[in-house]
Amino acid sequence: MLFTAYFIARVHNPESFLNGPDKLVTIAGTTITLFLLSSGYCMVKAVNAIRCDQQKSAFRWIILAIMLGLAYPVVKYFELNWYIQNGVNVDEGVFYAAYYYLTLNHLVHVTWGLMGLFFVAFRTYTGAYTSESYSGLEAAALYWHVTDILWIVLFSFFYILR
């Protein structure tokens, strides 16, 4: 549904979508992508560690995943601050309305994901997961990877595609 809104807005406002990415900070979008995908890598390592019953290693990987994941809202904060100061808002065109709508929606889901990672970090620290039983950790990792996939699409839609 969210992506349908993007495509409908795009075909109805080709000029806005042609020039829209020029005012976005590509380095911010790129940094977010690199942090999120690196955070995803850490969760892969965490799941692999728990499969070998290496709880301490798994905990460290989850903490690293959280730190890299937290970089996303931090970068986003500075990016949005820059847009506000430079008048890049929804009044500038439909492209920016779609941008704020989809990326802030994604940010909300990343926030849920980070809360999930904090929870599984605590559970891993208390020894709740073993090589025999780690479905909770795996579920949190899968959710986290889905946010990666969605961001790959959003990054391409708003920062690259014209």
């Binding site: 590509t26 979008g29 969760m43 996939i149 790959i152 690259i160 595609l161």
Partner: protein
Amino acid sequence: MIGHTEKIWFTLMALTILGALLGETGNAGWPLTLTVVALIFIKGGIVIDHYMEMRFANQRIRNVLRLFITLVPILVIVSFAWGEEIRRLTTLN
């Protein structure tokens, strides 16, 4: 030692930087559009198969995720090629 996961991570980093460079230098047109859809398909596929390990999972679940990263690029191409027609079809008056 560089293992399989590290190679996957490095590939994703390289493809992301390639995409960013395209975003800064690319002009609108078919070459950019097709490159972007290829990047979505490849990067999404890597995350699904290697990060999420869906290549070892139930194929129905894998296909649902694969459908998403296939459908999105198709819609990008369709909206680029037939934008005018879709605009007419989705106009209320």
